[in-house]
Symmetry: C2
DNA sequence: TATATTGCTACGTTTTTAGTAGCAAGAAAA
DNA sequence: TTTTCTTGCTACTAAAAACGTAGCAATATA
């Protein structure tokens, strides 16, 4: 396994981001986690560490290019890191997941109503 | 003001969606709210109803085409509706916002650490 | 030494968003 | 009643992001 630490264009607090020109923290966060696969990655790392290929499969055979871009961004954002046995949530990453998790149950009720 | 009820391609539970081929409820939700401006719209509607143009300004002068697409999707998803005085959150929309809201405070701490 | 597995990069295609222009319908002003 | 504004969009082109496939270097395994 090779190691890369390149920093991708991370949404900057105070500066305009995708989806918002205000640069408010919440909008910076929404920009980041709103990108495709971001939340799915956090979700899949919540129960155990996963390798690149493992994540690829679990994320619907996601494009390696996009997946890698997301991984770099999430690392730059301090939400995940590259552990011995694959990618893992950082403390911050877990905190974020904890706040995202309740959406899981809610989503189940919601899709039920949609029919 | 004209009225439109056209149904856009909404992520379908059980079927593959953007960002996930599993079709799990949480992934369907992530697909929907992960699209650009979605979460920002919910955020901006949380304190009061807003007209199309009003939302446009608050969403960083968002493209009317994209904004309108998002509004249609969120309406089809039963999260917002077109009230007399502009767009408004439905009951479900408010529930979702309530679960999203804690991210606001967390985001402030998070961006602080990033420096 | 041969075979897998892992973590990517490259690149052409498709999808999504951005950005600008403008129009129809209703309200307000003249 | 005619003008002027505001509102809620649609249309269109350009740019950016994501998809999808191929493949390669490095390490692990047989």
């Amino acid at each position: 396994m090779t190691e890369k630490t390149e920093t991708p264009k991370l949404p900057q607090p105070g500066a305009p981001v995708r989806g918002s020109k205000s640069g408010q923290p919440i909008m910076v966060l929404f920009d980041l986690i709103g990108r495709r696969w971001s939340m799915g990655i956090l979700w899949n790392l919540s129960d155990e560490n996963r390798t690149f290929r493992d994540l690829q499969e679990r994320c619907g055979s996601a494009s390696p290019s996009v997946l890698n871009t997301r991984l770099k961004e999430l690392r730059a954002a301090g939400l995940i890191y590259n552990a011995e046995d694959g990618y893992a949530l950082t403390e911050d990453g877990r905190q974020l997941f904890d706040k995202l998790e309740p959406l899981g149950d809610w989503a189940m009720d919601w899709v039920e109503k949609l029919r």
